[in-house]
């Protein structure tokens, strides 16, 4: 990593404004194109009965932690039973994308190998050098598992198989989840017993209330009247969303912190209120998030009288994932942010924030 940075590195934040009801709305695509989701929370500006919440949002999901050799991914059975009949997503758990090899299988069935130079020079598959970091020190190899020509007997397939059996035989620890295209629910994967497969249920945390906080009036950014002003307000609101999601003391209504430490004030106008969270951690399939998004927007629409004008959905991607959205290359450098947040209003309008670190080609 170079110490001589010529210009200050910038993280990116994209803000967009749209509505679910519009035909061109990208919200589904944004959710589905983001395959590696680590964390999710949903914030309501009111305390909701936990029983009600549980019944509404109990989307069960599970995933596996398993030691896999790469040759397993190109087996015909795996491609037929899982890749082509649903959505398999896998991500290797390694030291980090700056220093180690990261292998990922995205939702479109592309196996992405983000390799260090040493491994790439031993592997024997053609790749490209990464867009970020020192020149030609990391390489990306992409294999499309859904490609028609990837069948035993063909030259390309045999070469990949030979490489995975001879040069890169190491087992990687993967997080892997499978959603069947028919049921759209997390489904089982059969692993041979020597892979130490461990089934992990998604962690739900419904009983998360956060009372006596200062909640800004999000209706002020619901419509864009002055774009420049709107942008400033939206960024301020995003700050508040961040503080709310870590349940910071600074937004408590009785907070009296020394101004030497913090001079933070929630964006005006704000009012006193309570909040409640639903939290999910793990390896969350995008389809589950999409279903949650739909149920949140439905809940808001039906519950219009019930004093919940909006909700916030925050999603944090894995920082060390090799791609962010839709095969756009992703790196770490200073931070590996690839997060997004939705503010959903009860009439279907939403504001989308996409936060990305420096090393990302998405735009």
């Amino acid at each position: 990593m170079s110490i001589f940075i010529s210009e200050p590195v910038k993280s990116k934040l994209y803000i967009s404004h749209s509505s679910i009801t519009l035909k061109k709305s990208r919200h589904e695509q944004i959710i589905l194109d983001h395959p590696f989701n680590n964390n999710l929370d949903i914030f309501f500006p009111s305390i909701i009965n936990s029983k009600k919440i549980t019944s509404l949002f109990n989307n069960e999901f599970f995933y596996y932690k398993v030691d896999l050799p790469l040759s397993w991914f190109i087996e015909r059975d795996f491609i037929r039973d899982y890749v082509k009949s649903g959505c398999v997503v896998a991500l290797s758990l390694t030291e980090g994308i700056d220093i180690a090899n990261v292998i990922a299988l995205d939702s479109l069935g592309t196996l992405i190998l983000n390799l260090t130079k040493d491994t790439y020079e031993e592997l024997g598959l053609d790749g490209k050098s990464t867009k970020f970091g020192p020149d030609k020190q990391r390489f990306v190899v992409q294999i499309d598992l859904k490609e028609k020509s990837l069948i035993p007997g063909k030259k390309g397939y045999e070469r990949i198989k030979w490489c995975f059996n001879n040069t890169l035989t190491k087992k990687f620890t993967f997080l892997i989840s499978f959603v069947k295209s028919g049921t759209k629910k997390s489904s089982e994967i059969d692993f041979p017993s020597l892979f130490n497969a461990e089934k992990i249920l998604g962690k739900f945390d419904f009983n998360n209330t956060f009372d006596n906080i200062l909640i800004p009036d999000l209706n002020m950014i619901k419509n864009i009247s002055n774009e420049f002003q709107w942008r400033l307000d939206a960024v301020e609101i995003y700050d508040w969303i961040g503080l709310a999601s870590i349940q910071a003391q600074r937004i408590k209504s009785h907070d009296q912190v020394d101004p030497f430490i913090s001079v933070y004030k929630p964006p005006e106008p704000y009012s006193n209120g309570n909040g409640s969270f639903i939290k999910y951690t793990g390896f969350i399939p995008s389809l589950t998030i999409k279903e949650l998004f739909d149920s949140v927007s439905n809940f808001l629409r039906e519950d219009a009288s019930n004093n919940i004008p909006w909700a916030i959905i925050n999603v944090w991607g894995f920082k060390d994932s090799p791609i962010s959205w839709n095969k756009h290359e992703h790196g770490y450098f200073m931070n590996g942010e690839n997060n997004y947040s939705f503010i959903v209003y009860n009439d279907g309008t939403y504001i989308l924030y996409q936060a990305l670190g420096t090393y990302d080609t998405y735009s």
């Binding site: 020079e121 031993e122 592997l123 598959l125 790749g127 490489c163 001879n166 040069t167």
Partner: protein, 227 residues
């Protein structure tokens, strides 16, 4: 497989020409005079003049004439030497004298060469430790070795295995098991081969000399930083 240095065939040994071969004729006086003269002129302090004579003089050819001194004669000689005709590089290219014709790209054709190489390398290895053997390997000949490309900047070279049939300054030409000839540049590649259940690694970048020069070159320790 026959031995590396086999004996002359029987029919040559028994031929009339061979039987007529005699040592060069020496006159009787010389035969008597020389030992006496030499042994007599050795100082009496040394213990056994006869032994010294057998070790240093007997059956040896010695130049008794004075070597050429005048520069004219030397010049003549060098001119004579220059007249020996060799092919120029261009001629070599045009006649394709070092190219291996396509019909000879067959693995079986080179298996005997490999067996020959195995004998040679075993002899070179002898009883030396792998460390010392490493030094010897620098100067060894690799025609006939089965080399594998284990690491390379170019992805498609990796994993190529074959008998090395030709070594040039920057190339190894390998013939693979499926009868293809592959030209692998030595630069940016690392080769391995197996011998006595040891894996030996050749760093191609450090190996970029013609094999004839490599045999006499003095190598210095140099780290391999990058391919």
């Amino acid at each position: 497989m026959s031995n590396l240095y086999s004996q002359l065939p029987r029919y040559i040994q028994n031929s009339q020409v061979a039987k007529n071969e005699r040592p060069p004729p020496v006159s009787e006086t010389t035969r008597k005079f020389v030992p006496n003269f030499v042994m007599g002129s050795i100082e009496s302090t040394s213990k056994d003049p006869a032994k010294i004579y057998t070790a240093k003089v007997k059956d040896k050819v010695m130049l008794l004439d004075n070597p050429l001194k005048s520069s004219e004669e030397k010049k003549k000689r060098t001119i004579l030497k220059k007249k020996v005709k060799t092919m120029s590089a261009k001629e070599k290219r045009q006649t394709r004298i070092y190219e291996i014709p396509k019909e000879c790209h067959k693995y079986e054709l080179f298996v005997p060469l490999h067996e020959l190489w195995l004998q040679y390398i075993e002899e070179l290895y002898g009883k030396s430790s792998p460390n010392i053997f490493g030094q010897k390997l620098l100067k060894a000949d690799f025609h006939g070795a089965i080399l594998t490309v284990s690491k390379s900047k170019c992805a498609s070279y990796i994993g190529v295995t074959g008998i090395a049939i030709q070594e040039t300054e920057n190339m190894f030409k390998l013939i693979t098991r499926d009868n293809n000839m592959k030209c692998i540049p030595k630069g940016h590649s690392i080769f391995t081969f197996r011998l006595r259940d040891h894996m030996f690694t050749l760093y191609g970048d450090q190996f970029r000399y013609r094999s004839a020069i490599r045999a006499t070159k003095k190598f210095k320790n140099k780290p391999s930083i990058d391919l």
